[in-house]
């Protein structure tokens, strides 16, 4: 068990971060090169002002008409994404690992708060799953990969939650937690979790087209 722990904590962590960072850079560069090679005109329409206008509108809860039409989903989506990103970054035990390895540390969430946020993320995954199954227009466009990425996103939180509360086999869950976190990191650039990378660009482009050319709102 110790060897396994050393492996996921050491080489595999390096690999996961390597794939995440390297893969993300590769995907973004590839996309920008494609723009450069085939759709250079896009640059000429991009506007910082309208890109940010659009991004900020879509980052503000209920700022878009569609968010107001789907109130529950809006609350769940914002809570889910905030929890998904902030919890792992601001978790005390994660920051301790950074400190142990690199001497870096930063402000952390109280454990109780992190625990609640974890539950919110897990519940959010459950909501998305039910929505996918129950809502016909969502189910119609659902493929196996949609369930897979949902599972990839849920796994680190489920295992982390169980490990923190030391339910079931703590050691195994702890290792599974690290492993599932690494799977998620590595999966971001190469699955549709990559919307994390691309969304600012698609949003910025549509924002620029609507603001600069169409003189209309895109929210």
């Amino acid at each position: 068990m110790h060897d396994l722990y050393a492996f996921v904590r050491g080489p595999l962590a390096w690999a996961a971060f390597g794939v995440f960072i390297g893969g993300s850079l590769y995907r973004l560069l590839h996309l920008l090169m494609l723009v450069h090679r085939k759709e250079k005109f896009i640059y000429s329409y991009m506007s910082w002002k309208y890109s940010l206008r659009s991004i900020l509108h879509w980052m503000t809860p209920f700022a878009a008409v569609n968010m107001r039409m789907n109130r529950v989903l809006t609350v769940v989506t914002f809570a889910f994404h905030l929890g998904l990103i902030l919890t792992p970054v601001l978790l005390l035990s994660h920051v301790l690992l950074w400190e142990e390895s690199w001497g870096l540390s930063w402000w952390t969430l109280p454990d109780g708060v992190a625990d609640v946020m974890t539950v919110i993320v897990i519940a959010g995954c459950g909501y998305f799953l039910v929505r996918r199954l129950a809502q016909p227009e969502v189910r119609y466009v659902t493929s196996a990969s949609d369930y897979v990425i949902l599972a990839i996103a849920a796994a680190p939180f489920v295992t982390g939650f169980l490990a923190y509360h030391q339910w079931f086999a703590y050691e195994i869950l702890f290792i599974l937690h690290i492993l599932s976190g690494e799977i998620m990191l590595a999966a971001i650039p190469f699955t549709r979790l990559s919307h994390m990378l691309f969304a600012p660009f698609t949003r910025a482009y549509m924002g620029s087209e609507f603001g600069g050319v169409r003189h209309a709102r895109d929210w």
């Binding site: 569609n66 016909p136 119609y140 466009v141 549709r192 924002g207 169409r214 209309a216």
Partner: protein
């Protein structure tokens, strides 16, 4: 569920699709799809397909989806699934029947209105994706017959309606004659080099709505403007090629149009109340020719009327009394930001303006645009049944007292006429120009 919903809807055979499909082989299809998906498209297609999280949130935007009781096959992403995703997944190895269905979905079940782009959290442009599908179908020669016929006319005559050069000139002179009943000294100046304005219209105006040219001539003359119309091909600003996927023809059309304005050395092109033509000259066609924005200023009728009223070049004698409502056309409001100016004009001309809801960028489409009405009679009921929500929206504003429906777009006009008639809504439908012509101060004739 995999079968397209359009199959049971359009029982009338469309020769353009049937014959096009009969000439296809799997090899041809694969080649055309790959030409477009790997050759002609780039980062946008890739980013849109890979960013889409399959959340279905675009559905709420689509009038077809809402009108078909939320049938998922009609949601924007549902249409992408049935067309582009399949083509990508199978790397172009799809059947001729699939291509026909893809054509029906992209060309008769989507108006390219881009409302869904405002409902997608990522701003994915499904209209663009539908245009990619249309492009593939065009390369494969599978196009609804009626719209292909208009494209043929574009190709031969540089106008949409098989109007010959002499017929065009005749029509203008005839309207000049007629309009002299209003203003004895009225002119429709042809080929006046160095005029400030070139006035351009769509093919159907000389073909069967010549009174619109009459009205425009009266407005120009009353306002005392320095204007002209070309006597050569290039007068038509419309563009069905943009909707069939024939980008090369679209480029030819726009080039002739812009070059005609250049030849006449005018300062700007003022265009009649047409939405799709605005999209073609302001957004799509100019880009195909390499112009970031149009090479010569394009002024849509709404903007033009706004300016004339605001500066006092036209004065309102007596406001239009009947209560009016306004349908915002996608191409000039969501596509050109003219919502406020349209309201200024309506309020300047009419006593009583009642908003319909939703409105402005969020208005519900007419279901005629994007070339759908031009796909012809076989799809009339597809349009009408596919836009029940428009009827509901119109009934609601009628209940608030509106009796006249204004829409400054030809396609909206025709599409709304059909909806108005089929659902017995009882609106009188007008262009802004109809009312403007009626209410302005004219010199005593």
């Amino acid at each position: 569920m995999t079968e397209s919903a359009s199959k049971d809807k359009s029982k009338q055979l469309d020769e353009g699709l049937e014959r096009g499909m009969a000439a296809l082989t799997e090899a041809k299809i694969e080649k055309a799809i790959n030409r477009v998906l790997t050759g002609e498209t780039g980062a946008r297609l890739k980013a849109y397909v890979e960013t889409c999280i399959h959340c279905g949130l675009c559905s709420e935007a689509c009038h077809y989806f809402l009108s078909h009781d939320r049938d998922p096959r009609y949601s924007p992403v549902g249409k992408v699934k049935q067309t582009l995703w399949e083509m990508l997944k199978k790397r172009g190895r799809v059947s001729p029947e699939f291509i026909k269905q893809a054509r029906l979905i992209s060309s008769t079940q989507c108006n390219l209105c881009k409302r869904c782009a405002m409902y997608c959290p990522f701003g994915i442009d499904v209209a663009y994706l539908m245009l990619v599908v249309r492009r593939i179908c065009h390369l494969l020669g599978v196009t609804p017959r009626y719209i292909q016929d208009t494209a043929h006319s574009h190709s031969v005559n540089m106008n949409q309606m098989w109007v010959k050069e002499d017929e065009w000139i005749d029509t203008l002179q005839w309207q000049e004659d007629e309009a002299r009943g209003d203003l004895p000294n009225l002119r429709i100046p042809l080929e006046k080099e160095g005029a400030e304005i070139m006035y351009s219209v769509i093919g159907p105006e000389p073909k069967f709505q010549a009174q619109l040219i009459y009205q425009a001539a009266v407005i120009m003359n009353v306002a005392g403007l320095d204007w002209t119309m070309p006597a050569t091909p290039g007068w038509d600003n419309s563009d069905m090629a943009m909707f069939t996927g024939d980008n090369e023809l679209m480029g030819r059309l726009k080039r002739v149009h812009f070059e005609t304005a250049m030849r006449l050395k005018v300062k700007k092109i003022v265009m009649g109340e047409c939405g799709h033509a605005f999209r073609s000259v302001y957004d799509v066609g100019n880009r195909w020719l390499g112009w970031r924005m149009p090479p010569i200023p394009i002024v849509h009728a709404i903007d033009f009327y706004y300016d004339l009223l605001k500066t006092g070049r036209l004065k309102v004698a007596k406001k239009f009394e009947e209560p009016v409502t306004l349908h915002d056309p996608c191409n000039v409001v969501r596509g050109g930001g003219l919502a406020d100016k349209a309201r200024y004009v309506v309020n300047a001309l009419c006593e009583n303006f009642i908003e319909m809801h939703p409105n402005r960028e969020h208005n519900i489409c007419c279901c005629a645009g994007g070339g759908v009405i031009n796909a012809g009679p076989p799809y009339k009921m597809v349009r009408i049944e596919g836009n029940r929500v428009k009827a509901e929206q119109l009934f609601a504003v009628k209940a608030k007292g509106a009796t006249v429906l204004i829409t400054p777009c030809h396609n909206c006009h025709s599409g709304l006429e059909d909806i108005n008639h089929h659902y017995h809504i009882g609106f009188e439908i007008k262009f802004l120009g109809d009312i403007l012509y009626e209410v302005i101060e004219k010199p005593a004739g």
